[in-house]
């Protein structure tokens, strides 16, 4: 029996050359994982982060010109700054050839919302994983009604090549995992703000009695409180429900720049690595 050429074609998607777009802190850990998996990577980071960006990867400034066939696949990772995200997607759509799938992080906004203004929404796939991305184990992949199968299959192959488990879920901001965990963080922040218990006690009780791998407050500090807040605001914007109202304490900490472990201060204080 002759081989079925059409299905063979469907099974082949180049994923070798990756472009990662977003803030340095978000793209770097995934770039490291991609390189370890044998991909070549380039990082496209905000202009302001170029100077002093300590990385061995090739670095481009946001909006810098690239060859339209220079990359096989793009992973766009903005989460907190939705404006920068929209700008990046419009740029990528324009700069890269039509066949290049664009994978965009849907922690704080749905894929459908992001692709509304795009000319070729077929190539856009939503991906949702829980920060910090260096430790993520699982990727929830989201398609819109426009997304084509090849783009979806490409994202599955890409993450599997990086030893990340995948599953396809419906397009929804925060997916299942980030939505659930950030709501846990938010509820713990509310309990803390109401002084129901001491922060260490809240975390210890939740680990010992509820089987959480981290206490919810320490977990928020690991995720980054700015990101956790962005997830809550994304849920609030999507569902317009009071239940997703961010805890005032969470907002206060983020406004003060106390966004968690990477900054040395969040719900808890951390010894900073200098």
């Amino acid at each position: 029996m002759p081989p079925d050429v059409s299905s063979q074609e469907l099974e082949f998607y180049p994923i070798e050359r990756m472009l990662l777009v977003g803030p340095l802190a978000d793209v770097k850990p995934l770039a490291n994982r991609a390189v370890a998996a044998g991909h070549t990577v380039a990082l496209m980071i905000p202009e302001s982060e170029i100077e002093g960006a300590e990385t061995t990867h090739r670095v481009l400034a946001a909006g810098e010109a690239v060859g339209e066939d220079e990359f096989d696949v793009v992973l766009e990772l903005h989460c907190v700054d939705i404006e920068a995200k929209a700008e990046a997607l419009l740029y990528l759509e324009d700069a890269l050839s039509e066949s290049v799938p664009i994978l965009t992080l849907t922690l704080s906004i749905s894929t459908g919302e992001l692709t509304r203004e795009m000319l070729i929404p077929e190539r856009v796939v939503g991906v949702c994983m829980l920060p910090p991305f260096g430790e993520s184990k699982f990727v929830e992949i989201m398609a819109t009604s426009h997304t084509d199968r090849a783009a979806l299959r490409t994202s599955e192959r890409l993450f599997e090549s990086m030893s990340l488990a995948t599953t396809v879920v419906a397009d929804s901001p925060g997916g299942v995992l980030a939505r659930t965990v950030c709501c846990l963080v938010n509820e713990a922040a509310l309990a803390l703000q109401e002084r129901i218990a001491a922060p260490e006690d809240i975390d210890q009780a939740m680990r010992l009695a509820a089987g959480l791998p981290h206490g919810p407050l320490a977990w928020g500090d690991r995720i980054g409180l700015d990101r956790a807040l962005a997830v809550m605001e994304g849920l609030y914007a999507e569902f317009k429900e009071e239940r997703y109202r961010p805890a005032p304490l969470l907002k206060r900490l983020v406004r003060a720049g106390h966004t968690g472990m990477s900054k040395g201060q969040g719900f808890f204080a951390y010894a900073t690595i200098s």
Partner: protein, 290 residues
């Protein structure tokens, strides 16, 4: 085993929780009287504790002499409401406010001036229970988690009236039991039930919104999030009716704040008699359950 914070403990209500707490206290070296108005409940409690002690001996976790000593420290009483000489009374009777208030008011008159009374409620206001006693500063909540023998943390609930000394003594007592005490203010759901609510609520909402199915949601949270069990697995294990009762209490306690709105899927499942593992079916099938 010397110098226990409370040497003489009376427990009222020999359900699953009261029985397990009684067993824990007796093994820590206290003299325990387990009381229940129902002789049947007492028979079941006695059988359960004796079987557990025998198993511990068979498995080498307990010496024969320790088993004998533990049994000699344990008394069972049915029908009698008597606790004179106790340093600590714990009530784990039915979750009804007036039942708990009446019981504590009756017990209080028999107790010495330094004795502590604790309620095991997980849905009612400890402040409201304490309010009907003469010395509410000596009343607090002790919230053990199921299964008592393996969960190593206990919430000590400070009602509005609870005295500092009561909290200190109870913290020491919980450490005597080799458990970690967590002091929490009296607020619906305390810390654990409250802060865990989104785990169940968002899972049910994701299911309702058709983001993913039951198995996929559990798998994402287990494998991706590192939770010991998925939310649906956990609800099936705890019992959907139990989950719903705790949820309803928080919903009432927070005056219908939308964060605590119970999910209609849960109610529908309960209406169908699908209560989880204990009924043979919940979100999953449990064919071997009794």
């Amino acid at each position: 085993m010397a110098d226990l914070t409370f040497q003489n403990i009376a427990i009222f209500g020999a359900g699953t929780m009261g029985t397990a707490v009684g067993q824990l206290c007796v093994l820590a070296g206290a003299n325990v009287t387990l009381c229940d108005s129902s002789p049947e409940a007492i028979r079941r409690a006695q059988k359960s504790i004796e079987a557990d002690l025998k198993r511990a001996v068979a498995q080498g976790r307990l010496k024969d002499s320790e088993e004998d000593a533990a049994r000699s420290r344990l008394r069972f009483e049915s029908g009698l409401v008597e606790c004179s000489g106790s340093d600590l009374v714990i009530e784990t009777v039915v979750e009804k406010l007036d039942a708990k208030q009446d019981l504590l008011a009756r017990l209080e008159s028999q107790l010495g001036p330094s004795a502590i009374m604790a309620t095991g409620t997980n849905t009612l206001s400890v402040t409201a229970i304490a309010a009907k006693t003469r010395f509410p500063e000596r009343v607090c909540g002790l919230h053990f988690f199921n299964p008592v023998e393996s969960i190593r943390v206990v919430e000590i609930v400070a009602a509005l009236q609870t005295g500092r000394e009561t909290l200190d003594l109870c913290s020491r007592f919980i450490r005597d039991l080799d458990r970690q005490p967590i002091i929490v203010q009296d607020s619906p759901g305390f810390v654990v039930h409250r802060c865990l609510r989104p785990f169940f609520a968002e899972a049910l909402r994701c299911l309702h919104e058709d983001v993913a199915d039951v198995r996929t949601i559990d798998r994402i949270l287990r494998e991706g999030g590192g939770f010991e069990r998925g939310p649906f697995e956990q609800m099936d294990a705890a019992g959907l009716d139990t989950t719903y009762a705790v949820w309803r209490a928080m919903w009432d306690g927070f005056f219908h704040d939308s964060r605590f709105r119970p999910h209609p899927i849960l109610k529908k499942m309960i209406e169908a008699g699908r209560l989880g593992r204990k009924s043979g079916r919940g979100f999953y099938e449990h064919p071997n359950a009794t």
